[in-house]
């Protein structure tokens, strides 16, 4: 069955090509297709799932994601999310979804105050979401991060944890959630979360950069996230 992804393209998005490459080329044999959706549009057309990609939307000048959250297309994105459609925000996309109120909390400057690009590990936890379903909870996978503002903050993180909304947590190569394994100072090593309904997911690591062995990221763990959406869509579980 064919499933169509929309990849939102803001001025300043720069992992848009990367995301489209995965859903449109790498996963083509799994029936996946994709297209860009321009930020000035007000409707999404026929899409089954949305990717809000990484980058520096509008230069990320004020706060990461702040300006993109107000782009014309966001109203349609919010409506799609509210109706239960699967939405994933990766890196800048995560920041945008927080700023747009689709996800809770905020992402602030890395504790080191430096941009950081490297491979990390994170553990899959929390409730099953369309993007993590096919990965057993408790498993840890390698993915790269590349961000300056990935330090997650939440005024009531206990509640978030209580609701099992923490989906990805930074850990070490053995799966241990330690302070050393936390690359940016995020509270409780949080790397990714979902909304209360579970259909909107945001994460700082880049699954789309860990889908092809040739790219040297040391694995293809990211593929599982996209495959998970395809499975979810095939089972007709959403919308």
């Amino acid at each position: 069955m064919a499933h169509h992804f929309g990849v939102i393209r803001f001025p300043g998005s720069n992992c848009d090509d990367d995301a489209l490459h995965i859903v449109d080329t790498v996963l083509a044999d799994r029936g996946s297709t994709g297209e860009f959706l321009w930020h000035k549009e007000t409707s999404l057309g026929q899409v089954d799932a949305l990717v809000v990609p990484g980058g520096f939307s509008y230069g990320d000048y004020l706060r990461a994601g702040a300006m993109a959250a107000h782009a014309p297309i966001m109203e349609a994105v919010i409506a799609f999310a509210k109706s239960g459609g699967p939405v994933v925000g990766i890196c800048n996309g995560f920041q945008i979804l927080c700023e747009a109120g689709l996800l809770e909390g905020a992402l602030t400057r890395n504790e080191s105050l430096r941009f950081i690009c490297k491979d990390i590990f994170c553990r899959i936890e929390g409730r099953p979401t369309p993007f993590s379903k096919s990965l057993p909870a408790g498993r840890h996978v390698g993915m790269p991060i590349a961000h300056a503002e990935g330090c997650y903050r939440h005024p009531d993180v206990e509640r978030l944890e209580g609701e099992s909304q923490v989906i990805f947590r930074y850990c070490d190569a053995e799966g241990g959630v330690t302070a050393e394994a936390n690359p940016n100072g995020s509270i409780n090593n949080i790397a990714g979360i979902c909304n209360a309904a579970g259909n909107v997911v945001g994460l700082m690591p880049h699954p789309e950069r860990a889908c092809e062995t040739v790219l040297g990221a040391g694995g293809v763990a990211g593929l599982a996230l996209f495959e998970s959406v395809l499975e979810t869509l095939s089972s007709g579980a959403t919308r």
């Binding site: 905020a106 602030t108 105050l113 100072g185």
Partner: protein, 79 residues
């Protein structure tokens, strides 16, 4: 009309940038520095002439865009 906006981190929120500046000041030999907090200082030039209207408008801008009220406070001053 000119508006000045001071955006500061809420008191419980960690400010690594302020901390780093504080540490560096210490290293540079400034002794009595007890704490540094870094916020934003935004100046907005407006066409409006009515200070009340200006303040209203700028407050809305802050809520909508300029501050992230999950973690930041702001204060508006109209000149």
């Amino acid at each position: 009309m000119k508006a000045k906006v001071y955006v500061t981190l809420k008191s419980g929120v960690l400010d690594p940038q302020g901390q780093a500046v504080g540490r560096t000041l210490g290293k540079l030999g400034y002794e009595g520095v007890k704490g540094v907090r870094i916020g934003k200082f935004v100046e907005i030039e407006l066409e409006v002439d009515d200070p009340k209207l200006a303040e209203e408008q700028v407050t809305k801008m802050c809520d909508e865009l300029i501050a992230n009220t999950v973690m930041e406070n702001y204060r508006v001053e109209i000149d």
